[in-house]
């Protein structure tokens, strides 16, 4: 048995790697810079977790989302891998210092890009051996990408400061120009590249044109009722989430729950677990759900509201059919809905007419203070505030006029990019002739090599609903005595007593 197989067995309990995972693991074990574009749900995390555990020293994993960090950490903990920890702004001071005090004994450190750019963190990291840096969701580093995060631009310089350890970038969705940008910003020299098609052959694609909210609701109920699930329904807001959940609970025979940022932590975790374990058929959610959630048997992803660009769309439908079984994705398209991504995009950028007064506010304050001021006093979103703070820091000696000009230019540029992406999404939705799969791949500079069957509505295919398995749904109302026994001893023993 090779050392690699042995480690895989020991840590993860798998007998072997997939064909496409193997070369990535090898490249990283050989300290080669690596860019990997892998579809969501393809087991990408193991590609860096395994080498990280095998190498001596620490691997830093930059991850943009708290929920992503949490999920991966939970999975590692469940596998009894204790040399992993997270560091982010949501942790208490005690938790933070606990992590920092055991840095030298860690193998994997999940960290937010904001935390990684703090000088004292970099100083601490300099005192230990950092053997590898991994950037998850690496498309965030590119301003051509769909979720540009200014803090990602600091990863390159931090790498330099830490003595240029091996660098790996992972993403599920990157157009060719974003790939170029990633390599440049992360200062990768001649990296090994593993670019997989974004196409998920086993997910059939559908768009339903709707003329009004009522028709949309009716169509949603019809599709959800006909599908056995499990499935996800994506909506744009917490409020709609709750509303559609109630509707589906009433109008279908499915077990439906809502998931959004407004729920208490414990409730969120519970619903996620219930969905994972098959206690729920459908979850109505905002796009905060599913990040890093590994559920293999999802039948469908239904978009009640469509996302702001093709990259987000690919990412979200990628939660279906991870087990390789036939799955489907559908968008309920209503022309009026275009206002939702428009408003979202607007909120993500600083309002141009407020830039002047924002600069006044920012004068002489620290970065953290600026962001806080802008959010609390001027009502900006965090993304918009971070955007401004980044450029203030980037051009410390620019005059106020020059800075204002630069900012306006940057905002316009970003706005233009976002509009372009949204337009491409709308065009894809409104398309009524060409194969949807071919068009979607085009956005990512790919050609459709082989048309699967079923492919999409334009190719004349129908939604491949799975068979309903008339398995009895769990009887919820067992008396508490039975339930208590089950809790401790499992169903079998509870049944016998």
């Amino acid at each position: 048995m090779s050392e690699k197989t042995e480690a895989l067995n020991k840590y993860f309990g798998f007998p072997s790697l997939h064909d496409y995972q193997e070369p990535i693991v090898d490249a990283l074990l050989a300290d080669t810079d690596t860019l990997a574009v892998l579809p969501t749900g393809s087991g990408k995390s193991i590609c860096f977790q395994l080498p990280a555990l095998m190498k001596s020293g620490l691997t830093i994993i930059v991850s943009p989302l708290l929920s992503l960090m949490d999920n991966q950490l939970q999975e590692l903990r469940a596998k009894h891998i204790k040399t992993a920890a997270a560091y982010n702004s949501f942790m208490s001071p005690e938790e933070k210092s606990r992590v920092l005090s055991r840095l030298s004994s860690l193998k994997l450190l999940y960290i937010s890009p904001e935390a990684l750019s703090l000088p004292f963190i970099v100083e601490r990291l300099k005192t230990i051996q950092v053997s590898m840096m991994v950037v998850d969701e690496a498309h965030c580093i590119s301003q051509w990408g769909h979720e540009f995060r200014t803090d990602y631009l600091k990863i390159g310089p931090v790498r330099q400061a830490l003595g240029r350890p091996c660098m790996a970038a992972f993403t599920a969705t990157a157009t060719p120009e974003v790939q170029m940008d990633i390599k440049k910003q992360l200062q990768m020299d001649a990296p090994a590249e593993y670019i997989h098609s974004v196409d998920r052959e086993n997910i059939a694609l559908f768009v339903r044109q709707c003329t009004g909210e009522r028709e949309k609701k009716k169509e949603m109920i019809r599709l959800v009722q006909e599908a056995p699930g499990p499935g996800l329904v994506y909506v744009s807001s917490r409020k709609r989430c709750e509303e559609l959940k109630a509707l589906l609970q009433k109008e279908t025979s499915h077990r439906v729950e809502a998931y959004h940022g407004g729920l208490e932590n414990e409730t969120r975790l519970m619903i996620q677990q219930q969905f994972l374990h098959g206690d729920l058929d459908v979850v109505v959610c905002t796009n905060s759900f599913g990040m890093g959630l590994n559920k293999a048997d999802v039948e469908f992803v239904l978009h009640y509201h469509f996302p702001k660009d093709a990259e987000s769309y690919i990412q979200e439908i990628g939660r279906a059919g991870r087990d390789g079984r036939q799955a489907w994705a559908a968008v309920l398209y209503l022309e009026d809905d275009i206002i939702i991504p428009q408003m979202l995009m607007e909120a993500e950028l600083p309002p141009v007419n407020e830039l002047g007064s924002a600069l006044e506010t920012a004068a002489g304050s620290s970065r953290a203070e600026i962001t806080e001021e802008l959010i609390n006093r001027m009502g900006w979103t965090e993304t918009a505030a971070r955007f401004l703070a980044y450029y203030l820091e980037k051009y410390p000696e620019k005059s106020r006029g020059g800075l204002l000009e630069e900012l306006e230019k940057q905002v316009q540029q970003r706005w233009f990019e976002k509009q372009k992406k949204l337009k491409a999404m709308i065009q894809w939705l409104e398309n009524s002739e060409a194969c949807r799969r071919r068009l979607l791949l085009q956005v990512f500079g790919e050609a459709l090599m082989k048309r699967p069957e079923p492919c999409c509505d334009m190719c004349g295919h129908r939604i491949p609903f799975r068979e309903h398995q008339r398995a009895e749904k769990e009887k919820e109302t067992a008396p508490w005595e039975t339930r208590l026994q089950e809790l401790f001893f499992g169903r079998e023993r509870a049944k016998h007593e």
């Binding site: 409730t267 005595e481 169903r491």
Partner: protein
């Protein structure tokens, strides 16, 4: 009538028109201020302290306003005859729920986290499933369970059986619906817990009421565990600390222990004298060993207690009018804070 509405009326009834409506709001949401903490005690309303934590002020005001319009609340904020009749079944629920947010709000949360995580962990180990996502994310609870498991070693399965028996016993003594809530909130190796909303749906009850009954059940468990050393549930209790004091009163207590006077503390902390007085009242009610004799002469205390008993009121103004001029409001509040405990004890033994 909705749970929230009933709770508001019950709170106002308990306050007997001797406090503002806002005091009822603070009581129900469990505000951590000296005044509210003292109110809960004086008016024997620990079972309402934090009973509807998520109630927001505008909503509270719109509910009370509609009660005034309908005549359910009379001027002075006391429920009328019709309202009193309507809330009597709810009063029974409160009486039987075992809820005591005043004593157990924080400790209750921690106790439950420990119990829930312990059961989840033991059941996974027993059923030989080693990988699971802890349903409790709290690091402290996780470390506590880890420590316990290490200490029990191979004995842990005996411990699990004991815990099962203890839980079964406790749940039997609870009301049926409360036993149901606890059993369905918990997570085991094969059975996932339910959210409060899901349980409410199963029971066809309001979420707020389920939440109240849930905490009431947990508080009952704690009370029982406290009296049973040697049980597994007793081990889940937190020991030590003065959890009842607000953080700021805690600081004042530190200064008292250093020997500073009331005025000295106000200066040192740069706070108003009246604020420090609030802290003294809170401390007097909370810490049995804290004597107020140097602040209020014992015979004045005696007088205050006598008048309070004869007037049957906690209305400070009414008391002040009946007492000598040298009995300050501060002296009255201090004495009542100390005395509250005493009268409560008498009540309890009379039951």
């Amino acid at each position: 009538m909705l749970f929230q509405e009933a709770m508001i009326l019950i709170a106002l009834k308990r306050l007997r028109g001797e406090r503002t409506d806002a005091s009822a709001y603070h009581l129900l949401t469990g505000k951590r201020s000296s005044q509210t903490i003292t109110d809960a005690k004086w008016f024997q309303s620990k079972d309402l302290f934090g009973a509807v934590p998520a109630l927001d002020k505008p909503h509270f005001e719109s509910i009370t306003a509609s009660f005034y319009r309908r005549g359910w609340l009379e001027a002075g904020g006391v429920p009328g005859a019709e309202a009193s009749a309507a809330i009597s079944p709810w009063e029974k629920i409160v009486e039987e729920a075992g809820f005591d947010g005043w004593t157990y709000r924080d400790t209750g949360r921690q106790f439950w986290r420990r119990v829930a995580l312990l059961i989840q962990t033991l059941s996974h180990l027993y059923q030989q499933k080693k990988q699971f996502v802890p349903i409790i994310q709290d690091v402290q609870a996780q470390q506590w369970v880890k420590r316990k498991l290490a200490a029990w070693g191979p004995e842990k399965y005996t411990v699990m059986n004991r815990l099962y028996e203890e839980m079964a016993d406790c749940l039997h003594e609870l009301k049926e619906v409360q036993a149901f809530i606890l059993a369905y909130k918990l997570t085991g190796a094969e059975t996932l817990g339910k959210t409060t909303e899901q349980i409410a749906l199963l029971q066809d009850m309001e979420k707020d009421e389920i939440e109240y009954l849930f905490h009431g059940a947990v508080h009952t468990l704690i009370k029982k565990a406290e009296n049973q050393p040697g049980t597994v549930l007793h081990e889940c209790l937190d020991t030590g600390g003065n959890p009842q004091l607000t953080v700021t009163a805690e600081k004042t207590l530190d200064f008292i222990n250093k020997g500073l006077s009331l005025d000295g503390i106000a200066r040192a902390r740069r706070l108003k004298k009246s604020t420090i007085e609030d802290h003294f009242v809170e401390i007097a009610g909370e810490i049995e060993e804290f004597s107020i004799d140097h602040l209020v002469p014992p015979d004045q205390q005696e007088a205050i207690r006598r008048v309070a008993a004869s007037l049957d009121t906690f209305k400070l103004k009414a008391l002040k009018e009946q007492l000598d001029d040298d009995a300050t409001y501060f002296a009255i509040r201090l004495t009542l804070a100390k005395g509250g405990k005493k009268s409560e004890r008498e009540n309890r033994s009379a039951e």
